[in-house]
């Protein structure tokens, strides 16, 4: 680890990469979760017999 981030400023470098990782990963996961939730909701609505008008 100290190879990568150095010893003197280890905390600063690690935390800046850490916060980037957390935010970007969180964003990706959030988007994916929303996608699956919406897919499910759409499937449920369509199963209930409501169809989209412009299905091409």
């Amino acid at each position: 680890m100290s190879e990568l981030f150095g010893t003197q400023y280890f905390g600063f470098i690690a935390s800046s990469f850490g916060v980037t990782l957390i935010v970007l990963l969180g964003m990706t996961i959030w988007i994916l979760m929303t996608y699956h939730a919406r897919r499910k909701a759409l499937a449920k609505l369509e199963a209930a017999g409501i169809k989209r008008a412009n299905k091409t």
């Binding site: 400023y9 600063f12 935390s15 970007l24």
Partner: protein, 259 residues
């Protein structure tokens, strides 16, 4: 919002006005983009961590490889929103608002990252987490503008109307960003002698430049990937909304028929 309105756009963009066709395109493009993003991130990180220490900044120069690309994407996302706003007002392209709206949370995230990593970088280099420096301040204001626009979108129900109103707000914000930048520049040169703070850093040597550009490209592809995914979510949200309204209407008319 008809296809006829979008006639004078390039053919490709006009074809994408159809959400089903757009979703089909996303299905094809998304895996490719994801692979490119992961590859570029891997190369960029590897390059970034194999650079020598900077003579001035020491090892903290590595923070640059996440900080600067975040800042680029924060501004790039606003550019996407501005083009989306123009697409809404000028061409009335149905996807323009979807694009603008999907870019807003991403832009806010990247702006936050730019501020956070900049602050973490500033601590060992300048000895403080925050200064009211021109760049920092105007970036903070950009962050507030992003959040305000997201709040504006969320407080409006009807998509077509909210698209046009948000487009006006985005454009006004776009006019204002250079003014803010310039005024804040002026404000700090007046009241804060630029002595210790050199935000532009050392003139970049090639051994730092190439890792940085690679990371920038990686972040660009990451943004594109996430943006397409967020646009897909937004389209689905609208489809669900239409279906729910249709369902509600059918129930209402059924009730009316039975009474």
């Amino acid at each position: 919002m008809t296809i006829a309105d979008t006639q004078n756009l390039p053919r490709g963009l006009t074809a994408l006005a159809n959400p089903t066709r757009f979703l089909a395109l996303v299905r094809v493009v998304l895996p490719v983009l994801t692979i490119i993003t992961i590859g570029l991130l891997a190369i960029g990180l590897w390059l970034g961590f194999s650079v020598p220490d900077d003579y001035q900044q020491g090892r903290t120069v590595r923070i640059m490889f996440v900080h600067v690309p975040s800042v680029w994407m924060a501004m790039g996302a606003y550019m996407v929103m501005v083009s989306g706003a123009l697409g809404v007002l000028v061409w009335r392209h149905p996807l323009a608002d979807v694009a603008a709206r999907a870019a807003a949370p991403l832009g806010a995230c990247f702006t936050f990252l730019g501020l956070a990593t900049g602050s973490i970088w500033g601590r060992p280099m300048w000895g403080t987490w925050w200064v009211w420096d021109a760049r920092l301040t105007s970036f903070l204001i950009l962050f507030i503008i992003y959040l305000g626009l997201i709040a504006l979108w969320n407080s409006m129900e009807e998509p077509a109307k909210s698209a046009r109103i948000a487009a006006v707000a985005i454009l006004v914000g776009a006019i204002n960003i250079p003014i803010i930048k310039f005024s804040v520049d002026w404000f700090t040169t007046l009241h804060q002698p630029a002595s210790v703070l050199r935000t532009d850093g050392p003139k970049l040597a090639p051994e730092f430049l190439y890792p940085l550009l690679t990371m920038g490209l990686a972040f660009l592809f990451l943004f594109l990937t996430l943006h397409l995914m967020a646009m897909r979510n937004e389209i689905l949200r609208r489809q669900i909304r239409t279906l729910q309204r249709k369902a509600a209407r059918e129930i209402r008319s059924a009730n009316k028929a039975s009474t």
